[in-house]
């Protein structure tokens, strides 16, 4: 059902590998390009990557099956994700997902019969201040409700132009995959710099005249500095735990960073 990788795509796959000191580093974006060209991860795409990188097809498959954005089945023009991690779920993501399954008559990770929409529930997509959040082809659709979600998928299926709530006009899933592979599509200047929730703290600071201290206040050597915020903040110092105790790994506690520090000392 799928066609062979074209010469043009093959050359682009090679160009991705060439971005890196070691070509295999290109594999993740190369697989994104395979999805863009072929609509999913195909055996032909796997072979092409393996061929270019000088590794086995099994090694490429091992990578393609590890990451959730790689799809073995054809994806619709619009990949519609609903966050159902705890915060979004509680704020209404569960209801939205249930409504969409019913409305589209599909289950999780399934595509509508017209091939337009693939529905999937997502883990946290880093937009919790806009909960409940949906993503269409990995563009933000913030602050959704069951009604807005139904209207959104209806618009997508009818071919109406849809714009991200703080981003550009939505492209197709295959076009999106091409950007992820590192080939820009010229939509970078669409949409705002930030959505409203991203700006609330800044807005309050502006309103009340709050700023970070002036550079001179911290620099010293400019006579007696004015008393900056630290005098107040410093009064809040908590009990003196060792820094190591607070040193936790990227996402959670581990002994690693403490050990790393010991290593250095």
């Amino acid at each position: 059902m799928t066609s062979a990788i074209t010469d043009e795509t093959y050359a682009e796959l090679e160009s991705i590998a060439a971005r890196y000191p070691q070509p295999r580093s290109g594999l993740l974006p190369m697989l994104h390009l395979v999805q863009s060209a072929q609509g999913r991860i195909t055996p032909e795409g796997i072979e092409a990557c393996a061929d270019i990188l000088g590794i086995s097809a099994a090694e490429v498959s091992g990578v393609a099956t590890f990451y959730t954005m790689y799809k073995r089945k054809p994806v619709g023009d619009y990949h519609v994700g609903v966050c159902t991690n705890t915060l979004c779920a509680v704020m209404g993501g569960d209801e939205i997902f249930a409504r969409l399954k019913d409305h589209l008559d599909v289950g999780n990770d399934e595509t509508t019969t017209d091939g337009k929409v693939t529905l999937e529930h997502l883990e946290c997509n880093a937009a919790c201040d806009y909960a409940p959040v949906m993503m269409v082809n990995w563009e933000f659709m913030d602050n959704q409700t069951p009604q807005s979600a139904v209207a959104l998928v209806d618009d997508l299926r009818s071919g109406k132009e849809v714009t991200s709530t703080r981003g550009p006009r939505i492209c197709t899933w295959r076009e999106a995959e091409r950007v992820l592979a590192g080939f820009p599509d010229g939509r970078v200047d669409e949409g705002p710099a930030a959505g409203p929730a991203s700006l609330v703290g800044l807005g309050i600071a502006r309103e009340r005249g709050w700023t970070a201290p002036d550079r001179d206040q911290g620099d010293g050597g400019h006579g007696v500095p004015e008393q900056p915020a630290q005098a107040v903040e410093g009064a809040r110092v908590s009990d003196d735990k060792q820094a190591e105790q607070a040193a936790v790994e990227e996402k959670a506690p581990t002994t690693t960073t403490a050990a790393e520090k010991e290593d250095a000392e």
């Binding site: 954005m69 919790c128 990995w138 709050w210 790994e249």
Partner: protein, 436 residues
């Protein structure tokens, strides 16, 4: 007047076309780079050390110290890798930063790479944020065109290339060694340490891996001085950070403040908990940091303050839940997440998270007995600290902390024969229909 909020990283987010080079340079962007290029690299490392900047990705490890671990006598290339795989549940600061002001990150990457004497840097962005990736790609391209990147940057003789790399969906790649595996084109499974990445990281070469916000803070430190940065925050948690409020507050969003601010202050700024409701539980820094309750509203949100309460500052991802939310439902959902995201390498995490889901799911349905709470704690005990990375450890945090604070609520599921809560009361639109 004391400034409760101190916008630095967020200061330009409201600017017209803030993501463009022109907008960034109009307010002094890349001046810090020009200053840095006149400095000795070791002096930049010293400045970052003196500033007291600690890793903003959750670990809190001193950034300057991390840089100083790079063995400069090692003949291999040195690499800087930016961890932009923001996926810890509740965490939503790096994504808006990169979308609004990608040049802050790019300038930070150039200065930081210069300091560690690297000539190649990578920004590993999770794949599920298309527009953010566009903005960072474009910022890198603009920086090349302006001579901020490439060969002989501004006549300094220093060369640097940046590659923007899109991930493909894997929470585990936020763990630094799993991220390196992903960046080497492999399954994202963590590596055993030592050796640490500083010695043998990307391609077994000396590698610094830092969070987006850590690197984005570097231009302000170089530009304004270490003392300026250290003038904010608390004794051991210096500087500012972005605090992300989500859930049942009136104005969820990003609030940039000195470390040590309290949740009470933040919630006040956010207009309080939604009308007619009270705060029940919250995470200080993502789902992997043990839950706190309304009792903890006045604790300083810094590394020490949170450690003192048996939790962690993490990523300052403050997810707030009011009294309509069932803590068992919340914890079960997080646990399902950890089970799904466990990479499968280490048995205690791979099997353990599966068992946690089985036990919790039964309890949530009102099945089982009180002794299952002890079973859960025993399962957690067999996961915590027993795997290569911290994913499994994180999975135990919501469970052990929720049993500590809300044991009776677990038991209520058994006596009630299921969940006693009405989930529809927790939604963003609950009550609005009645008012409409």
């Amino acid at each position: 007047m004391t400034s409760i909020l101190t916008p630095v990283l967020t200061d330009n987010w409201g600017d017209e076309r803030a993501w463009t080079l022109a907008s960034y340079e109009a307010r002094g962007g890349y001046d810090a780079l020009k200053k840095a290029l006149t400095m000795a690299p070791d002096d930049i490392i010293s400045a970052v050390k003196d500033s007291g900047l600690r890793g903003r990705g959750g670990a809190g490890f001193p950034t300057g110290m991390k840089w100083s671990f790079i063995p400069q006598d090692n003949p291999k290339p040195k690499y800087l890798v930016v961890n932009a795989d923001e996926s810890e549940p509740g965490t939503c600061k790096d994504i808006p930063l990169m979308m609004a002001s990608p040049h802050t990150l790019v300038e930070g990457v150039i200065i930081s790479s210069f300091a560690i004497r690297g000539n190649k840097a990578f920004i590993y962005i999770r794949g599920e944020v298309l527009h953010v990736i566009r903005r960072v790609q474009a910022a890198v391209a603009e920086a090349y065109a302006a001579g901020h990147l490439g060969t002989n940057i501004h006549g300094s003789g220093y060369d640097l290339d940046i590659v923007v790399h899109a991930g493909a969906g894997a929470y585990i790649c936020g763990e630094e060694t799993a991220l390196l595996e992903g960046l080497e084109g492999r399954r994202g499974q963590p590596r055993l340490r030592p050796p640490f990445p500083a010695v043998a990281g990307l391609y077994a070469s000396p590698t610094v891996i830092n969070n987006v916000e850590s690197i984005a803070s570097v231009p302000s430190i170089v530009g304004n001085g270490a003392e300026w940065f250290a003038s904010m925050g608390t004794e051991k948690s210096k500087g500012f950070g972005i605090f992300s409020l989500s859930g049942h507050v009136n104005r969820p969003g990003q609030y940039e403040a000195p470390l040590g601010i309290t949740l009470r202050e933040l919630v006040d700024l956010a207009g309080g908990i939604r009308a007619g409701h009270q705060l029940k539980f919250w995470t200080p820094g993502g789902s992997s940091t043990p839950l706190l309750t309304a009792e903890h509203l006045d604790l300083p949100l810094d590394f020490e303050g949170m450690a003192g309460a048996g939790t962690m500052l993490g990523t300052r991802a403050l997810q707030l839940f009011d009294e309509t939310v069932c803590v068992v439902r919340a914890v079960l959902r997080w646990t399902e997440f950890y089970k799904h995201e466990s990479c499968g390498k280490c048995t205690p995490c791979r099997e353990g998270t599966w068992w946690l889901v089985q036990t919790l799911a039964a309890l949530e349905k009102g099945q089982g007995s009180e002794s299952d709470l002890d079973l859960l704690l025993d399962q957690c005990d067999n996961i915590l600290g027993r795997s290569f990375c911290a994913l499994g450890d994180g999975a135990t945090s919501p469970i052990t902390s929720s049993i500590k604070h809300f044991r009776d609520e677990y038991l209520a599921h058994l006596t009630h024969g299921g969940c006693p809560f009405d989930a529809s009361r927790s939604t963003a639109w609950a009550g609005l229909e009645a008012m409409a």
